[in-house]
């Protein structure tokens, strides 16, 4: 039963990674920038989730508000950080992004305190027997449902709406898309909104699973999400999803079986390095 249990835990962790990595992949596909500050948006989502839930008593309201606000902040981050640097080499934007990430971690610490916040009455703590003798809390089930729901929504948008088609065209060839009448700026703002809102949702979900938000909670997911989009083949959404789930499962087994050699976070990077040596373009080549 341990195997199955680990598999389920890994897939749930993978679902969270997928929500964070989606925004990074969208940004990379459009701008070819490694958007480290994305993790600050994840943290912001967590804080909004806890604070709104504690003040209003409604977790649903908190989740929606977190997605909306974080989405808007994400759009602002494009306007303030990346848009002025578009003509420069991506390295410049990367360092600027890291600077913003460091500064915002400190902002969280200064504004909300170093020890983090918790839910007064953590919602969705009940347990549910999904398989004989395997229990999952409602919070974990919510993670799975929300991840599948949001990611399929994006898949549907990408195929069935004008915006989605235009976005895919822009990723493929920005100049051709622009000359066919696509407003590239609109696509960028929309992608930042969606990607950031998803990171915000992931932040709320993680705050729920750990019943804790703290200033540094974004650090590790952010580096791992970078590893994931690279594993997935940079810019390939399908690759990123596959890599998220694979990494979640590998970490879950790895911590048990090779945990005495490597800590959890370096298992992810060992996996990354091995895959890249075998397939330098990532798991799925973008095309």
């Amino acid at each position: 039963m341990l195997y199955l249990d680990l598999l389920i835990q890994g897939l749930i962790q993978g679902a969270i990674y997928a929500l964070v990595a989606l925004g990074l992949t969208l940004v990379y596909g459009l701008l070819r920038i490694l958007h480290v500050a994305h993790a600050a948006l994840f943290t912001l989502g967590g804080y909004i989730g806890v604070i709104v839930t504690n003040d209003s008593g409604s977790f649903l309201l908190a989740l929606m508000l977190a997605m909306l606000l974080v989405g808007l902040v994400g759009m602002a981050s494009y306007r303030v950080i990346y848009r002025p640097l578009l003509g420069r080499t991506p390295l410049i934007a990367l360092i600027a992004s890291i600077g913003v990430f460091i500064a915002s971690e400190e902002m969280f610490r200064i504004v909300f305190g170093a020890y983090g916040l918790s839910y007064l009455t953590p919602p969705l703590q009940g347990q549910f027997e999904i398989l004989p003798s395997i229990y999952l809390s409602y919070a974990r089930i919510l993670v799975v449902i929300l991840a599948i729901g949001l990611l399929s929504l994006v898949g549907w948008l990408a195929v069935n709406t004008r915006l989605g088609i235009a976005a895919r065209a822009t990723v493929g060839d920005p100049k051709m898309a622009a000359s066919s009448g696509v407003n590239v700026e609109t696509i960028r703002y929309a992608s930042f909104f969606i990607g950031s809102a998803f990171a915000g949702a992931a932040g709320v979900l993680v705050s729920l699973l750990n019943n804790l938000v703290e200033p540094t909670m974004g650090a590790v997911p952010s580096y791992k999400a970078l590893a994931i989009i690279v594993l997935g083949g940079l810019g390939s959404v399908r690759g990123a999803l596959l890599a998220s789930l694979a990494l979640g499962v590998i970490e879950s087994y790895g911590t048990i079986y090779i945990g005495h050699l490597l800590d959890r976070d370096s298992i992810a990077f060992a996996f990354l390095i091995i895959v890249l040596m075998l397939r330098p373009q990532g798991l799925l080549r973008r095309d």
């Binding site: 460091i102 915002s104 590893a227 690279v230 370096s266 890249l276």
Partner: protein, 281 residues
């Protein structure tokens, strides 16, 4: 006086560390987000040896060799993966390094290595030694820059495929840059270990890797003098920030962002612009 010596030694180590990354990122154009791992390898090697009774100077070579050995492996990876893929691979290297160190008892695990012996020649002696190392490494990098290899590196940094087409032996130059750069970081690490006399996995993480990359970029990628200026300023900064201790990292982060946003060519570009404005008719 002691305080000034500590600040100056930190600056010298910072400059050496930044110059070593400048060979990889500045000259050869290979972005490394994990350079602190090599500082760490040098520091751990040197600390273990001096604790076993070796004199500090004798540990320099082993420290450089260990760092360069791992650097060679990462350099080989750079032949296979490129650009952003390489950047993230090097980021993986630093996480892997701290992850491995944390779990090894003979490296002190989470706690690290304490009680590293003070160098026999005292703090002023360590400063002199650090300055000598900086000077030697500086001469070494200037010689690369001024030689034929300097042009070859420029062409690789600009466009690898074209360089290959022109007959530049790209793999050999890349491997050399990685070996020379990581050996320099290993040397800086040996000095660092005996400056602070306590090392742990947290001293060589991702943030430290970013700080040194920031020195190179703020200095102006590839510019030796710009990098020295930026490294001296950025490694002394934390000391000046003591007054605003609580906001130290906040200011640092905003500075990084501001520097990229308003002076993306770094100190080098700023000086150049000033100079040109002065001479233009």
């Amino acid at each position: 006086m002691d305080y000034e010596i500590v600040v100056l030694t930190n600056m010298a180590i910072g400059i050496l560390f930044a110059l070593s990354l400048n060979v990889i990122t500045g000259f050869c154009g290979q972005v490394s987000l994990g350079h602190a791992a090599f500082l760490g390898i040098g520091a751990y090697t040197s600390a273990i040896l001096t604790k076993a009774g070796w004199p500090l100077v004798a540990t320099f070579l082993p420290a450089m060799a260990m760092a360069a050995l791992v650097g060679l492996v990462v350099g080989m990876a750079s032949l296979r993966v490129r650009h952003d893929f390489l950047a993230i691979t090097t980021m993986g290297v630093v996480f892997l390094f701290t992850g491995i160190v944390r779990k090894q008892d003979f490296l002190g695990g989470e706690i690290g290595i304490a009680g590293i012996p003070a160098p026999d020649f005292g703090r002023p002696g360590l400063l002199v030694m650090a300055l000598a190392c900086v000077l030697l490494y500086l001469i070494f990098t200037i010689r690369i820059r001024k030689s034929w290899a300097g042009f070859a590196y420029d062409s690789i940094a600009e466009d690898e495929d074209t360089a290959r087409l022109l007959g530049v032996n790209v793999p050999r130059f890349k491997l050399f840059a990685f070996v020379a750069g990581t050996a320099g970081a290993g040397l800086a690490g040996a000095l660092y270990a005996h400056q602070v006399r306590f090392i742990g996995p947290d001293s060589f993480g991702f943030v430290e890797s970013i700080s040194v990359l920031a020195m190179v970029i703020v200095g102006g990628i590839g510019s030796i003098w710009g990098v020295i200026l930026a490294a001296a300023a950025l490694s002394a900064l934390p000391q000046f920030f003591q007054i605003i201790d609580d906001f130290k990292l906040l200011v640092y982060g905003l500075l990084l962002f501001g520097a990229m946003r308003f002076a993306p060519d770094g100190v080098d570009g700023l000086l150049r612009r000033l100079f040109q404005r002065g001479t233009a008719p």
